[in-house]
């Protein structure tokens, strides 16, 4: 069972795709995206995207690391195995700090990478776009606008006409063959 997934338009330069993205956005599409070999500077504004929310994952990862580190040391050296070493206190935030600090960074880093994956809905190894031959150049030197057929504003004729008006190198339909 294959059904149309999206219409894709290919461009040669970042300036072309930027102009195209502004037009698609102005036409009021929602389920659309721009695919580029590298992040194009200014594209987030052209597409009207707000700030990424990865920072929250980093923040909560870091807080968890710091708390877990401090509590772990408190439990191990003050509660469960309280033995005096070198006349030092059983627990002090100072000596516990280096380890808790490293754990803050460790879990913060996992939060950042994990947050990126979660927000991007990755991994997704079977994507309709990954079966298209022309689209393979997106990781090389071509730029694509993709408008999904599920978009409420999508229309076979009108959407194609809109994309043709943005001066692309090529327009093609991508099938979902799942």
């Amino acid at each position: 069972m294959s059904q149309p997934y999206a219409i894709i338009a290919e461009y040669d330069t970042p300036a072309d795709i930027m102009a195209a993205a502004e037009k698609v956005r102005a036409a009021g599409y929602e389920k659309w995206d721009v695919h580029t070999p590298f992040p194009v500077h200014g594209m987030d504004d052209a597409m009207g995207l707000d700030n990424a929310k990865v920072g929250w994952f980093t923040f909560f990862g870091g807080i968890t690391g710091l708390t877990a580190g401090m509590l772990m040391i408190y439990f191990m050296n003050k509660v469960d195995y309280d033995i005096v070493v070198g006349g030092k206190p059983l627990f002090s935030g100072f000596y516990a700090f280096p380890v808790a600090y490293e754990m803050t960074i460790l879990l913060g880093a996992f939060g950042s990478l994990g947050g990126m994956f979660i927000l991007n809905r990755l991994p997704r190894h079977h994507h309709p776009l990954l079966t298209n031959d022309r689209f393979a150049a997106v990781t090389d030197d071509k730029f694509f606008v993709v408008i999904e057929c599920e978009d409420p504003a999508y229309d076979d004729v009108a959407t194609r006409a809109l994309l043709e008006g943005t001066d692309p190198q090529h327009i093609e339909m991508v099938e979902d063959t799942q």
Partner: protein
């Protein structure tokens, strides 16, 4: 100022300032596709003969390293030259040496990213790989130094039958957490940078695989597609993804920066928190971090100069890149030189006779040869980079980078061994020498390091393709080469 008659006098002719054009980061105005082709062809093509030779040699050295570690474990630490009073010998020297090497990779990938140094983009991948492999080499030494290696897991907070826990007041335990965090975070950062480039290789393999129908080549192609594709996580270059990706990259850079500074600070605490004259100094954390970056840049240059020549990457890793790295070497080398001087000053100014003795003994005692090797390699040799010719001649930079590597190994030797070999009582004085096992285990770690590095060159893109593209004018939507309309005055 205005003239006496009230008439303003024009003193300076007005000029439109000449716009200085920066030297491009990828030479000869290469198109975007050229960068992909240049980098991916290394991974996709056959390796040259020298690679095979180098791999066999490195692999044998690695086996030698593991062999000597096996000998150590089955026999005991007596096979090393450690004895009273020098109980920290080459193993700790090598640990600090290797962990320091790693710091340049993180500096390039994280700190230069935060400082918006675009030139990092063609060297960061290799430098980060170097970091990870160096930390692997470093991690071996404290592990086998504990004596009873099968109990090394006691370093980690794992419940055990004795009902005892690790002792967190010790900087040695802080080190366990610092180094393992450093390794993990470096690996995450490196992997995240690799995702778009793995997708590039995946897509190229998919197109190349269309021409193959069956047979071994087809199977190999399918296997590679699967493997690269698996780790590429289904990356499609979506801008909605790039937005989160770039934010996560920035955050990881922001986390790695305090991390890299803390790791070598904590390594220096292993010494500074003790009471030993020569170790017990507050200058250690910044001094160790500067030395680590210095040694790491030495190693980056040692690896990158042959690599760029052998794989014809001179247009991506340009002379300008090498020159900028040399400037980092002057800066950090001078900080290290300043620290050496300041240590002596404080030893005298602090008025502690034991401290002063330790430092006099460093320069003029039985290990004077190690001290002066360190001074000439670390303080004198980088100063050559004040001359432009020295900074722009790759073979010359290569030689100096070797001196930097040697000098920084000797620095750690001087710190560890000379501070220990004279205890307070002359009856506890000694002269430490390494044994064959010490030396060959260390030599073997270079085999391990090079084996991993050669495999990295063989199977992964050595240059961050998407990042290197991103800093070219072709990638700038406001530049003519990026497709923007020519400016109104229409110069060219």
């Amino acid at each position: 100022m205005s003239a006496a008659a009230g008439q303003p006098v024009q003193v300076v002719e007005t000029h439109t300032p000449k716009e200085l054009v920066r030297q491009p980061l990828v030479l000869n105005n290469r198109p975007l596709g050229w960068i992909t082709e240049q980098v991916c062809s290394i991974v996709e093509g056959k390796m040259p003969k020298w690679w095979n030779v180098a791999f066999v040699v490195s692999f044998l050295m690695m086996l030698m390293c593991f062999g000597y570690i096996g000998y150590l474990i089955t026999t005991g630490v007596g096979v090393w030259g450690l004895n009273h009073p020098v109980a920290w010998g080459w193993a700790i020297v090598n640990f600090v040496f290797w962990i320091g090497i790693g710091h340049a990779g993180t500096l390039i990938s994280a700190i230069l990213f935060l400082l918006r140094q675009k030139w990092r983009c063609s060297i960061n991948r290799t430098a980060e790989a170097m970091t990870i492999f160096a930390v692997i080499c470093a991690g071996i030494f404290p592990g086998i130094h504990v004596g009873r290696i099968w109990l090394a897991w006691w370093l980690f907070p794992i419940p055990n039958a004795h009902g005892i826990w690790p002792q967190f007041r010790s900087p040695l335990l802080w080190d366990v957490f610092a180094v393992s965090t450093y390794f993990t975070v470096s690996l995450l950062f490196w992997y995240m940078g690799l995702i778009p480039d793995l997708a590039t290789i995946r897509d190229r393999l998919r197109i190349a695989g269309k021409k193959l129908n069956s047979g071994l080549d087809w199977m190999i192609n399918r296997f590679k597609q699967f493997t690269y594709g698996f780790f590429a996580m289904g990356w499609t270059g979506s801008n909605r993804h790039w937005r989160n990706y770039e934010k996560a990259y920035l955050l990881l850079a922001g986390l790695s920066t305090p991390l890299v500074l803390s790791v070598h600070s904590i390594v220096s605490f292993d010494f500074a928190v003790s009471q030993v004259p020569g170790w017990h100094t507050t200058i250690f954390p910044p001094y160790f971090v500067a030395g680590a970056v210095f040694s790491g840049f030495g190693m980056v240059l040692t690896l990158m100069i042959p690599m760029r020549a052998l794989f014809k990457l001179e247009e991506i890793i340009t002379i300008r890149h090498l020159e900028l790295m040399c400037k980092v070497i002057i800066a950090t080398g001078s900080i290290v030189g300043y620290a050496y001087g300041m240590e002596f000053f404080i030893a005298w100014y602090g008025g502690n006779p034991y401290e002063l003795y330790a430092f006099k003994n460093r320069a003029f005692g039985p290990y004077w040869w190690a001290y002066w090797t360190m001074i000439s390699c670390n303080v004198i040799s980088p100063q050559l980079f004040w001359f432009q010719w020295c900074r722009t001649s790759p073979w010359f930079i290569f030689i100096v980078s070797i001196f930097v590597n040697i000098g920084m190994w000797f620095e750690r030797f001087v710190i560890v061994v000379t501070s220990l070999h004279r205890d307070y009582l002359p009856s506890s004085w000694g002269y430490y020498s390494p044994t064959r096992v010490d030396i060959l285990t260390f030599v073997g770690t270079f085999g391990l390091f090079m084996t991993l590095f050669l495999l990295f060159i063989r199977y992964l893109p050595t240059i961050a393709i998407s990042e290197a593209k991103g800093v070219t004018p072709q990638a700038d939507p406001h530049h003519e080469l990026g497709g923007a309309k020519p400016k109104q005055e229409g110069a060219h």
